[in-house]
């Protein structure tokens, strides 16, 4: 079998656009996922049985279904839900529905990391925060979470590298991310295998490089 990569060069601008969408999706999903995940972690750790039960259920559900299913399901369900809430047709693009799916799905994983981070902070720190007159919210925001996040940053980044790869699942709803762009360009150029090989190479370089950086960060944090 002969490979011919000649068409990749001319397609780079288009591929870069796809990568831009992938990275936007990733960044927003990480921010939203960590934010929601933190709220779920706090709910999970709360003394309120109902709240912690709901949080636990949430985590268990999202960790037990395939991401691909969540993406497709949200693609069809989100417009429905919005019509139900707002009463009128509110068009949401594939990007928004994918973003919501990623945020909610990843929040389940991030929440477990954040929960472990919060639990790793000694109870004495919370006691000291309370003794100074801080409320629960202040103790969390000013004392516990900053320390927990510092410890958890490598794990959160590691999870985000997995998410970077998983963003490629958006091909299921036709979103033109990096992989989907590579696929369609490859088909058009008549070099589908070459384009997919190239895409795989790019995913590998970014993921591997990022994960090496995370390892180094981890070492610096533990020193």
């Amino acid at each position: 079998m002969e490979f011919d990569f000649s068409q990749i060069g001319p397609s780079l601008p288009g591929l870069a656009e796809g990568m831009w969408l992938t990275l936007q999706l990733l960044a927003l999903a990480v921010l939203g996922g960590v934010a929601i995940g933190t709220l779920i972690a706090l709910a999970r750790l709360s003394n309120n049985r109902l709240l912690s039960g709901l949080a636990k259920g949430y985590v268990n559900i999202f960790r037990s279904v395939p991401l691909l299913l969540v993406i497709t399901w949200f693609y069809f369900a989100v417009p429905f839900l919005l019509r139900w809430i707002t009463g009128s047709d509110t068009p949401v693009g594939a990007f928004a529905s994918c973003l919501i799916a990623f945020m909610l799905f990843e929040a389940a994983y991030y929440s477990e990391i954040v929960r472990a981070g919060i639990q790793s902070i000694s109870r004495g720190q919370i006691g000291a925060a309370y003794a100074l007159g801080m409320t629960y919210a202040q103790a969390m925001r000013l004392v516990v979470l900053p320390q927990a996040f510092r410890k958890m940053t490598p794990l959160l980044l590691q999870q985000s590298i997995i998410l970077f790869q998983d963003t490629s699942l958006v091909y299921a709803v036709g979103l033109m991310d990096f992989l989907n762009t590579a696929r369609s360009r490859g088909d058009i150029a008549g070099q589908p295998h070459e384009f997919l090989l190239f895409a795989g190479f790019v995913y590998f370089v970014i993921s591997f490089g990022a994960s090496r950086l995370v390892k180094r960060l981890q070492q610096r944090l533990t020193v």
């Binding site: 006691g127 000291a128 309370y130 003794a131 100074l132 007159g133 409320t135 000013l142 320390q147």
Partner: protein, 245 residues
């Protein structure tokens, strides 16, 4: 005059296990009370009840006229007026010494950052650590960290100070620097409740000594009476054991 802290018939349970049994005592304004007793006797639990870090099920605790057990009491506000110093210092490791001293002044008391900073640095100077303002807790020795922790509590202008074994996690050569700060504080008239096994400190500084055993206050008397002739056998045993060291 009513006492600054009054503890009346307080009992507390962890599940079926009774940690405190009918504890009654009081600390007058400006008084220094040392709480001692064997490990597990409930000393920490008792002083944590005073600023509501631990709830209790029976009895009442009144701090400066405010009932700690009353569900309507604004607990964060009450705690902001009572200083507490812990065995393991509990400085916030992600914040500089200055920020440790100012964060609660700003976020809890609503002071201006400049004002909080001035106050914090003045207190840091008072505990002899003015040169360390920009450092982080991890860069200080245990004794230094504990002195910062005392300054942090004082920055809130507390009406009373609670100490839970402030020197027991320290290397011997650092104990005195912390006890000196506490002694100075006592001489300035601070109301203090100190859990400590430093009997030298108790002899020099305390007005009264409370001895606890198995969740009960067994002795509660003037310092001279306690060291002169403790009435209970348990306290005698405890004293002879601790003074041997």
């Amino acid at each position: 005059m009513s006492p600054m802290i009054s503890i009346d018939n307080v009992s507390k349970w962890y599940g079926d296990f009774q940690v405190l049994t009918d504890c009654t005592t009081a600390v007058a304004k400006g008084e220094v009370v040392v709480v001692c007793g064997p490990s597990g006797s409930g000393k920490s639990t008792l002083i944590k009840c005073v600023n509501a870090l631990e709830p209790f099920q029976k009895g009442s605790i009144i701090v400066d006229g405010i009932s700690v057990g009353d569900p309507k009491t604004d607990l964060p506000k009450l705690r902001s007026r009572v200083g507490m110093v812990f065995q393991h210092f509990e400085l916030f490791p992600h914040l500089s010494i200055t920020d440790n001293l100012t964060i609660a002044q700003v976020k809890v008391l609503g002071r201006q950052p400049d004002e909080a900073r001035d106050k914090g640095l003045k207190l840091l100077d008072r505990v002899g650590l003015a040169a360390h303002a920009a450092k982080y807790p991890g860069q200080l020795s245990g004794g230094q960290q504990q002195r910062v922790a005392i300054a942090r509590a004082l920055a809130m202008d507390p009406i009373a100070m609670l100490f839970d074994e402030p020197t027991s996690a320290l290397d011997p050569e650092m104990i005195n620097e912390v006890l000196d700060v506490m002694t100075q504080l006592a001489h300035e008239g601070m109301t203090m409740m100190c859990v400590t096994h430093e009997m030298g400190f108790a002899r020099r500084v305390a007005d009264r000594v409370i001895f606890m055993d198995r969740g009960m206050i067994i002795e509660d008397c003037a310092k001279d009476d306690f060291f002169g002739s403790p009435r209970s056998e348990r306290a005698q045993q405890f004293l002879s054991k601790i003074l041997q060291h």
